[in-house]
């Protein structure tokens, strides 16, 4: 369709060594090559690995639905909850999944405001990950209420029970608003970014269904600059709105704990510590997903080693913030002089759940420290394995926070031990099936890299660069 590289007749004087940067798209690829490569994934044959992964994920997803059906028809007794541990895996999984989502918004919004152009190769897939992770997260608060047919009481809906409304002093209600706003805004932001790329696919489509559906969802986009002008403004505004949104969502999730009186939960460090942990876990998941996709779809020129290295650096930074927060929690537990608080933390590290605490420490604090070394950051196999450890560690962090704080509170007569049941475990494993099914459908039917945004950061797209057609000295 188009030549694989930019015209060779153009001679570019190399920039001075000290300001030279590795290009974001390797091998001097042309604009047409970018759309051919990314749209080619959708237009090509379905790869065998896709069918294999789909056939594994689909039954796992169905198992999740079956477990939810069993829970609803039987009652929350099928979970391992007891008194005083009334929040078990459901809340752990909710916080885990919602945290994963945060990296997508960080990449799409915060890095956009910071003009980090490398984000263009990963933002689409990371935003898709956000949306699917929030969907997985949203299941748990919905089903953990016990009498699920009253789940609509979460929302301030007019009802026939007399004037009766939710109590807005409850952080749990703040959470309802935070998570539903987060999901809606992420979905709209993602869809808006897709519009120009859907138009690209529409203009290449041969089949009737493709033409119809990509045409419908691209809304009649023509690439008009009058449209781009409004589009870019809306994009900037959404980035500016998503940034305080993403910071508020995990802050409010942390309020679910911090506003209570439970030792181990009632701490002011929670909001920033939760947000850093969320971004840390999200980048772990982005690396886990993108490293295999990059080789399976041969996207090495678009998703370069530099991209992976930069993501590793964010993981290292946020992982170190999380490590600092663990240390500071302990320091305050001692320095604050509250005996209950001090006990809660001693109990975390050396009590019956010591194993969970030390898994958390080794995965979250120690494993990202390997990213200090360039040799390890640039080795995709090592990065992928470490990213898995990050995912595991962040799940354990939420387990430690939720369960160890609850299982021994003020009165020793109330103390208990919590273990999950098979239903708990299978529901959680099932959400991975749901996540994978959605993500596989995404990579098969939608452009997994933002075509127009990647084009926009190449030299060929810059009207002031010789490759973009600038001639000699410029005005």
């Amino acid at each position: 369709m188009s030549s694989p590289t930019a015209p060779s007749s153009v001679k570019i004087a190399p920039p001075p060594r000290e300001i030279e940067r590795e290009p974001l798209v390797l091998n001097n690829r042309s604009l047409g090559w970018i759309s051919d490569q990314i749209a080619g994934i959708i237009e090509g044959k379905t790869p065998t690995w896709w069918w294999v992964t789909m056939l594994i994920s689909l039954p796992i997803m169905l198992m999740c639905f079956a477990m939810i059906g069993y829970l609803i028809s039987t009652g929350v007794g099928v979970w391992g909850l007891n008194s005083p541990i009334a929040w078990g895996w459901a809340i752990v999984n909710f916080v885990f999944w919602i945290g994963i989502g945060h990296a997508g918004t960080l990449i799409s919004a915060v890095l956009f405001l910071l003009r980090q152009k490398w984000r263009t190769s990963i933002n689409r897939a990371a935003e898709a990950m956000t949306i699917f992770a929030v969907m997985c997260a949203g299941i748990f608060p919905g089903i953990h209420v016990g009498r699920i047919w009253f789940a609509w009481w979460l929302f301030p809906l007019p009802n026939a029970n007399g004037p009766i409304w939710p109590q807005f002093r409850s952080p749990l209600l703040w959470d309802v608003f935070a998570v539903s706003t987060y999901f809606t805004v992420s979905l709209l932001f993602w869809y808006m970014g897709l519009i120009p790329d859907l138009a690209t696919i529409r203009d290449r489509c041969k089949g009737f269904f493709g033409k119809f559906f990509y045409g419908l969802f691209s809304l009649g986009w023509t690439g008009s600059n009058r449209h781009w002008s409004n589009y870019e403004k809306a994009y900037l505004l959404l980035a500016g709105l998503s940034t305080p949104l993403v910071l508020s969502v995990h802050s409010i999730v942390s309020f679910d704990f911090a506003v209570s009186q439970v030792p181990g939960w009632h701490t002011t460090i929670f909001p920033p510590y939760f947000v850093a942990g969320a971004i840390f876990s999200g980048f772990g998941m982005v690396l886990t997903l993108m490293i295999p996709l990059r080789s399976l779809f041969k996207l090495q020129d678009l998703l370069t080693i530099r991209h992976i290295e930069l993501m590793c650096k964010v993981t290292l930074a946020t992982g170190s913030i999380v490590g600092y927060a663990y240390g500071m929690e302990f320091f305050i537990a001692w320095y604050g002089g509250n005996p209950y608080e001090a006990y809660a933390f001693q109990n975390r590290a050396f009590g019956p759940y010591w194993w969970a605490y030390w898994i958390m420490i080794s995965c979250n604090v120690i494993s990202p420290q390997f990213f200090w070394f360039k040799k390890l950051r640039t080795n995709v196999v090592v990065v992928w394995i470490l990213s898995i450890f990050v995912n595991i560690g962040m799940w354990f962090e939420r387990f430690v926070i939720v369960v160890t704080s609850l299982h021994r509170d003020y009165i020793p007569a109330n103390w208990a031990y919590y273990s999950p049941t098979k239903v708990d475990v299978l529901t959680f494993v099932g959400t991975f099936g749901l996540f994978m099914v959605l993500f596989l459908l995404f990579v098969r039917f939608l452009p997994l890299i933002a075509i127009s945004e990647v084009k926009g950061v190449t030299n060929q797209a810059d009207p002031h660069h010789p490759l973009g057609g600038a001639k000699g000295g410029h005005h």
Binding site: S2, P163, W165, G220, R226, S229, Y231, L238, G469, K471
Partner: protein
């Protein structure tokens, strides 16, 4: 003239963003009003080259945010202190503090609606029909080509002169698009 009564505009194709931008500068300076540039990605500096003013999307977003903020406070005040007052911990029925997280989220939600739906409204999208989308060559506008279109309804439009203007701007291909 019947042939031209159906003509939508003159479509000029350019190879590079710089060529399209210089053409846009010329057309802007010639005083055209009903014309546009179509590119596969937003070209940096094209708004100035076309003489476009700052986009109005921000106003839609602001109005959305103001609505969200006001409605959020009104809703919670109505629900928790007027229609269903419940005293919690001996505290006053209303204060601006406890509703803030919810109001904050509603402000962001409605600002985001304002930005997205304002953008779609200003761009008159979704649009089910556009004469350019029938044109085979125009498919390059979402791929790797740059187009300038001058509509025949522009008061300054005259076929010979407009053709000459676009050719002098260095376009690689020129054709009349039917409506």
């Amino acid at each position: 003239m019947t042939e031209y009564s159906q003509a939508y505009g003159l479509l000029a194709e350019f190879e590079t963003p710089a060529d399209a931008m210089h053409a846009a500068e010329k057309i802007r300076d010639a005083g055209f009003t009903r014309w546009d540039v179509h590119t596969p990605f937003p070209v940096h500096g094209m708004d100035d080259a076309m003489g476009l003013k700052n986009s109005k999307v921000g106003w839609f977003s602001f109005c959305g945010g103001a609505t969200g903020f006001t409605c959020g406070y009104l809703m919670i005040w109505f629900m928790n202190s007027l229609n269903y007052p419940v005293v919690v911990g001996g505290k006053p029925l209303f204060s601006p503090m406890f509703p803030f997280p919810v109001v904050y989220e509603m402000t962001i939600l409605l600002s985001a609606f304002g930005a997205i739906f304002g953008m779609l409204f200003l761009n008159r999208l979704p649009k089910l029909y556009h004469p350019l989308l029938k044109n085979r060559r125009f498919k390059g506008a979402t791929h790797d080509k740059f187009y300038v279109i001058i509509e025949t309804t522009d008061p300054r439009y005259s076929e010979a002169e407009t053709r000459e203007l676009l050719e002098s701007a260095g376009c690689k291909h020129l054709e009349m698009v039917e409506d």
